[in-house]
Every structure is written in C-alpha cells, then in structure tokens.
C-alpha cells in the first residue's frame, strides 16, 4: 500500500452516523469488534436529528389491542405488498424491544397518565403507535445513541466524506475519503463495511432533505457491484412548507394531523373526503400527497400553491406543548401563528423507499462484507413508507447490521488494500481542480433538481421519464467537465462536485426503474398506467452495474408463508 496516506484500521467500518449507523456501531462494539464511524457532518447533525413525529412500535401502551401482527399488516398494506415480508415481520416484532432499550439508555419519551411511553396516531397505522417526544423525537434518539456510543468507545471520524469503496477481489476491504476540514485524503481498512448514509432527496428541487442527502451510499455500493432495489419508490411527503420561498419544502410533521389537524382547499372543503373517506387526513402519504397536488392543479390551491392545514381549533396551549417546533418554525420563518390560523402546505420530496438490496436477517448486501441499513437500504417499506417506520427501522436493522458485520469480521481473514485503486480514487477527486475551464457544480446541481422535479416527480409518464433520462445523460457529460475554484480547505464547491456524481448515478437508477414499472403502486404513480398490475405486484426492480453500463432486471418476490398470509387477510380488529 501507498505509504503516504493516512490509514485507519478497524474490524467494522460504518459509513454514516444517523440512527442506523450509531445503532449498528453500538451492537458491533458489543460483539467485541473494533468499530469506526465516519460521517460528513459533525456528530449529532445527521438527518435523524430532524425527525419529528415519532417511532412506530406496537407497545400497546395506549391502544391495548395493538400487537406486532397489526403493525406488520399495516406496514405491508402501506407498502402495497411489495415489501420484503420477512423484514416487515422482524421489524414489527422487534421494534418495541428496541424502543424500551432506548429508554434504558436514557431517552425520555412523553408519558401516559399511568407513566408509560405515550403513543400517538399516524397515517396508515391502525392504532396509536408512535412513541414520541413532542415533535422532536429524532433529536432524543440521536443524542441517546451518540452519547451511548461515545461512552462505549466507538471511534468517530467527523466531517469526513467517503468517495469510494475499496475491494480485495470479490469482497470489500475498506474505503477512501477526504477530510472536509483539510481536504486531505484518508483510507479506512476494514473487513466489514456498513452503509448507513441515508437518502437522495437533494436531487429534487423541493425537498425536506439536507445537503447530505446526495445518495452517496447507494452510489458507492452500486459502484462496488452491489444491487439496488425499488428505486422508483420515492416518497413525497404531503406536507412541506410552501411559503416563503426560502423554506419551501421544509417538513411539516404528520404529527400535526396525528394530533387532529385537518386539510382544506381554498374553497374550505375537507377534500380528503373525496380521496379516502375512511382514513381522511390520516390516509397514507402517497394518497394525501397526490390529493393535494391534484387540488392545486385543478385550481383549488391556496395563494402560494398548496393546501391549508389547520390545527387552530385545538387549545393553543395544547398545540404549543405537542408541536412546539412546528409552532416556532411557522412563527419565526413564515409569520404564521398556527394556534390562530392555518398553515399552507404542499408535497415535498422526503424519503427513499428503495436502496441497497439486503438480506432480511443480517442486512448484508449482495457483495461480501458489505452491509446496508436505514434509509440507504431497501425492502422494509415496499412501495410506500408509513410515518414512524423509519426511526424503528434504524433501531431494528441497525442492531442486526451491527451483529452481521461483527460476525462477518470475526470469520474473515485479513484484507489488503489495492494501492492502484487508491491512486485512481485520488485522481478522480483532484481532476476538477486541474481543468483550466469548466462549469460550476452549483449550476449543474440546479439543473438536475429541475429535471428530477419536472420529469421524475409525483406523477410520471413515459414521455417525461424518457426526457428525464436524456437530461440526465447530458448532465452527466457536463458533470464530467465540472471545475472547482479555491483550495482543498473546507471547500463546499469541491464537495458538491463529488456529491453530484452520486446524485446522477442514483437519479438515473430512479428514472430507469420508474420507466420500467408500467403500473401505479404506492408512491409510484404513472398517468399512462393508472392502475395496479397483477404481474408487477410480484416483482421488484433491481439495478446493477455491468462494466460501465447500468442494467435493470426484475426479481421475483418470494411467496409469503401461510401464517403471515393469514395475518394479512384478517380485517382490522
């Protein structure tokens, strides 16, 4: 190996310090492995910190009739049965234990009158199921995990971005990246790697996601030969802020509706009656997002092109106690007092159901030694995720990925780093500085967001998707000629140039999968194929790399075992 690179060696390398990565780290450490966690931002700033509404787990503290079976059924129904049933089963069964564990590590949830963890209603959940802390549940979760992890002794490498996975033959052997602060390169050597890098929302113009959500982990895994799955399923959350322009897309938690908030159009009508008379405002996100979009398109939108969301009929003190951050967010950023009047809301790109294809029990991807978990992984949510099922996903499969990665590290012999691969990785990173002329990465990013918003949005059709794909082609060509100014010291333009590559790869996977699925299901709505298709109900789209080509194939969903099938057939109690 090339001597001049700073190199760190651990049994398990975890890329990502959100809930998924931290939970995996705690578990791997518990198994006796040495563990490193790498993240692009400071510790504690990952997306998980922004989660608002709650963690879904069938604890039955509020509704006694709840149990894992109902949670399993709700998750499968919400995902339009495209979910990996085994993951949905494990998730529903293990979530309550994972939440209790979080409490034993110091998390302080809101309480019921008998002193247990309080649970609230959310879209698609039959019972009151979301364990929460006001509307800042994610903050509670990430602090608890981060304090525990640090105290147990995980090594955290903050503000360090991974740009390439390294391989030793067919298995992974480490990762290459750079320090944001200095721009210097670094190599991590590890027998197991867990990808916990989150989603891809920054490829769209209107999004609730931060600069970190550029699909890095999915692109890294794809480059390393792993398969991606269900990439057409991108969740547009129905309620993002629409005004003023600077905050467009910022999330308005579903907890507003969970606590009794109602949606109305400009005519004052509770339009959800027409789209889902039974579940109304708490219908699943795909349905509510399309409903708002349709209302606006048909001329019944608000002044700034959204719908009204109103919780001002509840006592002001109650609203401030249950939704404090929403109260402040609207008062300070939009001059709206939500205890007095309605908010304006509209769909915003929020969550990626698809991702790296993994094995249900261990979270192992299709490359030896590579694991994936959290929003970066696929399978649990199928065609549409229920609110609250992400935070529980992070805990349940974070733990399993940590176990799987530690186990794999124990059983495998030493790995070696290929010096040539490392040199290639440095060349790739330095190129944008060396070009005498070229475009700014910010321009290309803006055009990518526009293309994805217009052609790969909530409603899709063949024409748009084809146009989108050809846009992506020309954007890729432009990105190959991107030029970066300034030095390597904390240079966001340089970082964006690299993130762009990941976004383009993952966006292409999304557009191709969306073009292939000729039906509408969950978050994927094709105007030209508006209904379900029997054949497609048994297939997942899978993306993989062959040479330099992106290939798409279909994978048959395995038969659901009888005992689970029975649960699915039962009507809700």
């Amino acid at each position: 190996m090339n001597e001049k690179f700073e190199t760190h060696e651990h049994d398990v390398l975890i890329i990502g310090a959100g809930g998924a990565g931290l939970r995996a780290a705690i578990e791997a450490l518990g198994q006796g492995a040495t563990v490193a966690v790498v993240c692009k931002s400071l510790l504690g700033k990952a997306h998980t910190v922004m989660a608002e509404g709650g963690i879904a787990a069938a604890m039955a503290n509020v509704d006694e009739a709840d149990d894992w079976r109902t949670h399993f059924r709700d998750t499968m129904r919400g995902g339009k049965f495209l979910n990996n049933w085994r993951m949905a089963q494990i998730h529903a069964q293990e979530a309550p234990e994972r939440v209790r564990e979080l409490e034993q590590w110091g998390a302080l949830f809101d309480r019921t009158s008998s002193g247990d963890i309080l649970q609230r209603a959310f879209g698609g959940h039959t019972f009151k199921r979301l364990c929460h802390v006001g509307d800042r549940t994610g903050l509670e979760m990430i602090r608890t995990l981060q304090d525990r992890g640090v105290n147990l002794g995980i090594d955290v490498y903050m503000e360090c971005a991974i740009t390439r996975l390294l391989k030793d033959g067919e298995r992974v052997s480490g990762a290459f990246g750079y320090w944001r602060e200095t721009g210097r390169f670094v190599v991590f050597k590890a027998k197991s790697i867990v990808i916990a890098t989150g989603g891809i929302g920054k490829a769209w113009r209107i999004t609730s996601n931060s600069w970190e959500y550029t699909g890095d982990g999915m692109a890294l895994a794809y480059e390393a030969g792993a398969e991606l799955m269900d990439m057409e399923f991108v969740q547009f959350h129905p309620t993002g802020m629409v005004w003023p322009p600077g905050v467009q897309g910022i999330l308005v938690t579903e907890a507003v509706r969970g606590e009794g908030g109602v949606l109305r159009n400009s005519e004052g009508e509770r339009f959800m009656e027409r789209y889902d008379p039974e579940k109304m405002d708490l219908s699943t996100r795909d349905v509510v997002a399309r409903a708002i979009y349709t209302e606006v398109r048909e001329g019944r939108g608000t002044e700034h092109g959204g719908a009204y969301l109103d919780i001002s009929h509840k006592p002001a003190e109650y609203v401030k106690r249950k939704l404090p951050s929403m109260y402040h967010q609207f008062r300070e950023l939009a001059d709206v007092d939500i205890t007095q009047g309605p908010m304006e809301v509209g769909p915003t790109c929020h969550y990626m159901m698809g991702g790296i294809r993994v094995e249900a029990e261990t979270a192992q991807a299709t490359v030896s030694g590579l694991f994936a978990v959290g929003e970066a992984a696929a399978g649990l949510h199928g065609a549409n995720r229920l609110g609250g099922n992400s935070l529980s996903d992070l805990l349940v499969f974070g733990r399993r990925a940590g176990l799987g990665a530690a186990e794999h590290a124990k059983q495998s012999g030493p790995v070696t780093i290929d010096g040539e691969e490392v040199l290639e990785a440095t060349r790739e990173m330095l190129e944008p500085f060396e070009r005498p002329a070229g475009e700014s990465p910010y321009n290309i990013h803006r055009d990518l967001q526009e293309a994805m918003q217009n052609y790969v949005g909530i409603f899709r059709n063949e024409d748009d998707l084809t146009k989108g794909l050809s846009e992506l082609d020309s954007l890729k060509a432009r990105a190959d000629r991107v030029r970066v100014e300034g030095s390597r010291l904390f240079n966001p333009g340089w970082h964006l140039a690299r993130d762009l590559k990941a976004m383009l790869t993952v966006s292409e996977a999304v557009a191709r999968s969306a073009l292939a699925r000729k039906e509408s299901r969950g978050a994927h709505s094709r105007i030209d194929y508006p209904s379900y298709d029997e054949d497609w109900s048994r297939q997942n789209n899978v993306i993989l790399r062959e040479g330099d080509e992106m290939k798409l194939k279909q994978l048959h969903i395995t038969e659901t075992p009888d005992e689970l099938r029975q649960i699915l057939a039962e009507e809700k109690s």
Partner: protein, 246 residues
C-alpha cells in the same frame, strides 16, 4: 426588491478579512439563504455549515452583526438593510475556514460526562411532570452559541478548567432524570469548574431553544454541589455510598 450588502469573513487559521457581496432579497429570506446564494453565484468555496435549515440541528451558528445567531433562523427583514450585514464565525472557537470553526473541544468535554445510569431495580414508569423538567434540557441542539458567549470561555479562555453552559445543561438532564442513580457533583466541582460561573445569564439570552440555562440548570446544580460538599452530613453519606440523594 433591493439588494442587501454583506460583509463576510473570508479566511482561515492564518487570518482573513471581511469581503463584500451583494445579494438580492426575497420575501422571508434568512441569512443562510443569502450565504447559499453567494455560494451558488459568487463564491463557490465559501465555507458554511448547515443541515436542517429549520433550527433543529444547530449547525449554522455564526455572529450576525456581532450577535450570536443561527443563520437559518435570522430573518433579513429583522436586520437594518441600510448598512452592510456582517457575518463572522463564532469568536470563541478557532477558525477553520470562513464561517466554519473548530468545535471539537466540545466533543472532548462531552466524553468526560458519565452517561445515564439507572438506579437498581427501577420500574420504567415516570410521571410526565417529572419528565417535563428534564425535557427542557434535552431540547439542546448543540449549536454551541452559549459556549461562544460565556465570558469564562470567551474572555478568560478557561476551556481546560470549565465545561461551559452546554454541558451543565447536559448534566442537569442526567442528574434530574427521574430514574438516574449516579452523582456527578465531583465532576461539576472539579474538572468542569461550575464554581467559575458567576451567573451572568449571557448563555440563556442566546439559546435558540429558550432553555433557561442559568435558572433551571446551573443554579440547581450549584446548589447540589454546595449541599454535597459543604453540608457535613451529606458529605459523609456521599463518601459512604457514592450515590446521589433523591
């Protein structure tokens, strides 16, 4: 709408200067939007930290016209626009580049704090009223603005002897957790030097989460230290048991 003029610190550990930029104003715009505009159109290498853009992650701290603020929650229409708006990095931490500072010291202090340690045989039931008190401290988004303004750190540079308001808040959250069984008064008194705080309340004034840092965290903790160290009966009991009172 008119343009706003910004003067932004550009530089690194070796020094730097204020550089002027003009930014068109839009309705409801915040300072972070302006910084993003400058990155996209004028200075692609302007170093800024941010994540949530909604006051939830505590990444975007800086000094706007000399006042410590979250830039994502600082509205342009609340600033005087007839003069340039200055944006500078937090003063109490070493600059890395432009508006990005080295806050790693905070993470080192945090490591010293013993974690939540439940009393033996607790039943996991808690009353919301007991939880309310602690949840106030758990709202902290680690923006480090309080650390930035505290004069013990800012003017007297006592980072080696003083933990700072953020960590008193964290410890208050642990000490007052209804089920915690550990005492951290030794740490507060010695390594974290809570005695150096003279209750100026500057930290409370800047906290974007409105945590009553001084009244609700620091003063009660100081009282615990006094009780534990200067009340002979308690002192003796603590030596005997090493536990905190309930």
């Amino acid at each position: 709408m008119p343009d706003a003029t910004f003067k932004i610190f550009r530089g690194d550990r070796g020094g730097g200067k204020l550089v002027e930029y003009n930014v068109p104003i839009a309705t409801g715009m915040v300072v972070l939007d302006a910084l993003h505009y400058i990155q996209a159109h004028q200075a692609p290498d302007l170093a800024v930290r941010w994540n949530c853009k909604a006051g939830k992650c505590g990444s975007c701290s800086a000094e706007v016209n000399g006042r410590p603020r979250l830039t994502c929650k600082t509205r342009m229409d609340a600033l005087p626009l007839n003069e340039p708006i200055t944006v500078q990095p937090m003063k109490s931490f070493p600059v890395i580049r432009d508006l990005v500072t080295d806050v790693s010291w905070n993470y080192r202090v945090n490591r010293m704090i013993p974690p939540f340690t439940p009393r033996a045989d607790v039943e996991w039931k808690m009353d919301q009223r007991d939880v309310d008190r602690v949840q106030e401290f758990r709202k902290c988004i680690e923006c480090f603005l309080c650390q930035n303004v505290c004069h013990v750190l800012r003017d007297h540079d006592k980072g080696e002897q003083f933990g700072g308001p953020r960590f008193f808040v964290r410890i208050a959250g642990l000490e007052m957790h209804p089920l915690d069984g550990l005492s951290r008064t030794d740490l507060l008194k010695d390594a974290l030097g809570i005695g150096l705080c003279n209750i100026t309340k500057c930290c409370t004034e800047v906290c974007p989460e409105d945590i009553q840092i001084t009244d609700n965290a620091i003063i009660p903790l100081k009282e615990r230290v006094v009780d534990d160290y200067y009340d002979p009966v308690r002192w003796f009991l603590r030596k005997l048991k090493g536990k905190k009172r309930k």
